[in-house]
Symmetry: C2
Subunit: 152 residues, 2 copies
């Protein structure tokens, strides 16, 4: 995948994050790419589902686990509008998805909104026994605008 | 909480793990203690819900987030039959629950069943900005018997 592919898919995640807000949820979106094509998308549903665990990435992982076998997921790339939290990083790691690409970094988001919640996903994945590649931030300023519009 | 309290609640988690198996799910159970009393219980529902993310601890966190405010969760202890995975550790950390007590260690389980999935929860929590206390393993041999009966 080229840098231009990454930008295209991250912009699609930002559009999904806007869709989440239109649904009454928080501004986060994620998608799964297999063989260069988007095969699944997901948005944050914390408010819709009244469930603090329903981040976009974990919603994506839930559906990916239903649709694809582990050997297929190992060849997929997960794109997400904002660097995954510790929970979502663990969920992604468990699926065997081999590459994560994110838009805004967790640090940039939490510098904006203030929180003690952030753990960089690379630090968690470094503890794993399998390698998971991480690429990002990408088009961070564009993504942070969604967060500014929503949280501030 | 005394060592005898920990053993009592961990045995209750092992009973929940057996209940999960009776429901057709995997042998994992968890519960939340507030002011010395069990206020919530949860079991693994991966098979019932057809969702790989529905571990006992994350099910507990989903419900805990609906029932209790963050300042209340900070005074709760989460007990679980087996050391939480990276996903569940992240979910617990996000709630602000301040203490985790587990029965079997992740290492003991994965030595039994074979997997490259395990990351010790203490290593993940050490990356956090807030402290989360972790106690365990407790009554590990009793808990491993559930796993032997199920997986082997």
């Amino acid at each position: 995948m080229t840098s231009s592919d990454h930008k295209r898919f991250i912009r699609q995640c930002y559009a999904l994050a806007e869709e989440a807000v239109q649904n009454g949820d928080h501004p986060f979106g994620a998608l799964l790419v297999k063989d260069g094509e988007v095969v699944l998308t997901a948005v944050n549903t914390i408010i819709s589902d009244n469930d603090e665990t329903r981040h976009a990435e974990i919603n994506l992982v839930s559906e990916a686990g239903r649709r694809f076998k582990p050997q297929s997921l190992a060849h997929c790339t997960l794109y997400t509008s904002t660097e995954p939290c510790a929970m979502c990083t663990g969920a992604i790691y468990a699926t065997g998805i081999s590459t994560i690409v994110f838009g805004c970094s967790a640090k940039a988001l939490y510098d904006l909104v203030g929180s003690d919640y952030s753990i960089p996903c690379r630090d968690i994945l470094a503890l794993g026994r399998r390698e998971t590649a991480v690429i990002g931030p990408i088009l961070q300023e564009e993504g942070l605008q969604n967060h500014r519009d929503y949280w501030i």
